[in-house]
């Protein structure tokens, strides 16, 4: 985790980074785990891809980040992250 935040801090060093810091995720259960996404990309990628994916779609996205792009996200976090993304950024609000 420390490495993630170091990377994030580095990315925020420039003025573009200062702008990026203004992009935040919606509050909700699982947000902390979803914050791991910032290791590789700004969080606006998530908002940009809303709201049209269901939980299966978000699960596929998170798995692609791990399996294809090598994101250091634990397998056991996938469901919590996908649930959060589906609830906050999903096609239909889920209870």
């Amino acid at each position: 985790m420390r490495m993630l935040f170091t990377l994030f801090a580095l990315a925020l060093a420039g003025s573009v980074g200062a702008q990026e810091a203004k992009v935040t995720l919606k509050d909700g259960p699982g947000k902390e785990k979803a914050m791991q996404c910032v290791a590789c990309h700004s969080l606006d990628y998530i908002g940009m891809n809303s709201r049209f994916m269901d939980k299966a779609g978000w699960t596929a996205s998170v798995n692609k980040m791990i399996n294809v792009f090598g994101a250091a996200i634990a397998k056991e976090d996938v469901d919590a992250i996908a649930t959060y993304l589906a609830q906050q950024y999903g096609r239909t609000p889920q209870k």
Partner: protein
């Protein structure tokens, strides 16, 4: 005239963010439509709208050296050119779109840059500085459209994930550098060479992420018009567009135009990395573009050349126009390198079409301007459309050809104006 409607992007942004987005805006029924259009709305241009979440994320933002562009994502940087900059056939460097896959983008110094040329199907391994490339090879230039494969992805219905581009992930420039084929000839191409593989200086923050590496068929890479370009519109390439040297592959989509080019390898086997084998693929046979034979898979094939397309730049959807006065319908058209044969304009939702005048021919890979007019005799709503046909005989489509990654959107634009 409709000057009052030309609200600056900056004030529109303030307006939208101030009201916390679309929901609040639509509650204000009295707000004029053009004023209410959020940053980067494609509905305002007569297309399907980008996703709600995309509209909410978009702001106008100026990267260093650029004018404010439509921000899609900060890191990696993905920024779209607003419609205003497509009213000339050449796109200004400072307004040219920015598209990266990987977030570690070095500031390359011209004097430290070097290009490696070799590979198992090259006779020898060579290294060139910028000065050597300029000195040892004859200069060449081409005017060509660079368009992201996923330009207009955001207009797909149903939506598909990815960078939700509107219409501005493209630009047209005069590219100047040296011919790749001349450089490859110096390295020597062995019999059995199949593809040429390109890598740039950009990397991912994580080591495990596949590096962005692309290949071209050797016969495409050795074509007369493929350049290693140092200049764009008479200036050095902007950092965000590949300084100090990038590949220019006229007619082919932007994915092949590797920025900050560092390595060119001639190989005898198909390149097998993620960006070739999995990404940038189309269901096989769905489009009539050229085929990348060494990369064909059973179900899919790589995207290659651009499909014919056009963009009306002189009107906004919902705009009010005066009855009895001809409405100027101007814009640009382009394709994958055959050139534009004609652009037709309809003012009756496609029942009848009139041929528009074409502007100066800047070459078969360039944007081609068109201009026509549509008379507005009666009051009420009027739908204006433009339809380009290439010299290869391809025409824009009425209905979207849906595909999983959201490529090749060339659905005919349908702008509606209110005649008052």
């Amino acid at each position: 005239m409709e000057k009052a409607r030309r609200i600056s992007n900056a004030s529109r942004r303030g307006f939208v963010t101030g009201l916390a987005g679309m929901g609040a805006l639509s509650a204000l029924g009295a707000v004029p439509r053009a004023l209410a259009a959020p940053v980067g709305s494609t509905a305002a241009l007569g297309f399907a709208e980008v996703p709600d979440g995309t509209l909410a994320e978009q702001i106008m933002y100026a990267l260093p050296g650029k004018v404010p562009l439509i921000k899609k994502t900060f890191r990696p940087p993905n920024f779209e050119t607003p419609i205003e900059y497509f009213r000339t056939p050449i796109t200004q460097n400072r307004a040219f779109f920015v598209r990266y896959h990987l977030a570690a983008i070095p500031e390359v110094k011209a004097e430290q840059w070097a290009l490696s040329v070799g590979g198992e199907s090259a006779e020898r391994e060579l290294k060139f500085t910028l000065g050597q490339l300029r000195k040892e090879f004859r200069a060449a230039q081409v005017t060509a459209v660079c368009q992201c494969s996923g330009n207009r992805r955001g207009l797909f219905e149903p939506h598909v994930p990815g960078v939700e581009w509107g219409v501005g992930a493209m630009g047209n420039a005069v590219w100047r550098g040296v011919r790749l084929k001349d450089v490859l000839a110096k390295a020597g191409i062995k019999a059995g060479a199949l593809e040429v593989v390109f890598d740039g200086a950009d990397r991912a923050p994580l080591e495990k992420t596949p590096d962005f590496v692309k290949s071209l068929p050797v016969e495409v890479a050795t074509g007369d018009d493929v350049l290693i370009a140092f200049e764009m519109n008479g200036q050095p390439l902007p950092h965000w567009n590949g300084f100090p040297a990038r590949l220019v592959v006229p007619g082919w989509t932007g994915t092949y135009w590797i920025k900050q080019l560092t390595s060119v390898r001639v190989v005898s086997k198909p390149e097998g990395n993620f960006w070739m084998k999995t990404a940038y693929r189309l269901p096989r046979g769905k489009f009539k573009t050229v085929s990348f034979k060494s990369q064909l898979a059973e179900a899919n094939e790589p995207i290659t050349t651009m499909v014919v397309n056009s963009l009306i730049t002189s009107l906004r959807s919902g705009q009010r126009v005066a009855r009895g006065k001809p409405i100027e319908v101007k814009g640009i058209a382009w394709d994958g390198g055959s050139g534009i044969d004609r652009v037709e304009i309809s003012r009756d939702f496609g029942k009848s079409w009139q041929v528009a005048r074409l502007g100066k021919d800047l070459g078969r890979y360039s944007f081609r301007e068109f201009a026509g007019s549509a008379a507005a005799h009666e009051g009420g709503a009027m739908v204006i459309m433009a339809r380009a046909t290439s010299l290869a005989g391809e025409t824009q489509v009425n209905e979207l050809i849906h595909n999983p990654a959201g490529y090749h959107h060339n659905v005919i634009q349908r702008l509606y104006v209110e005649v008052v």
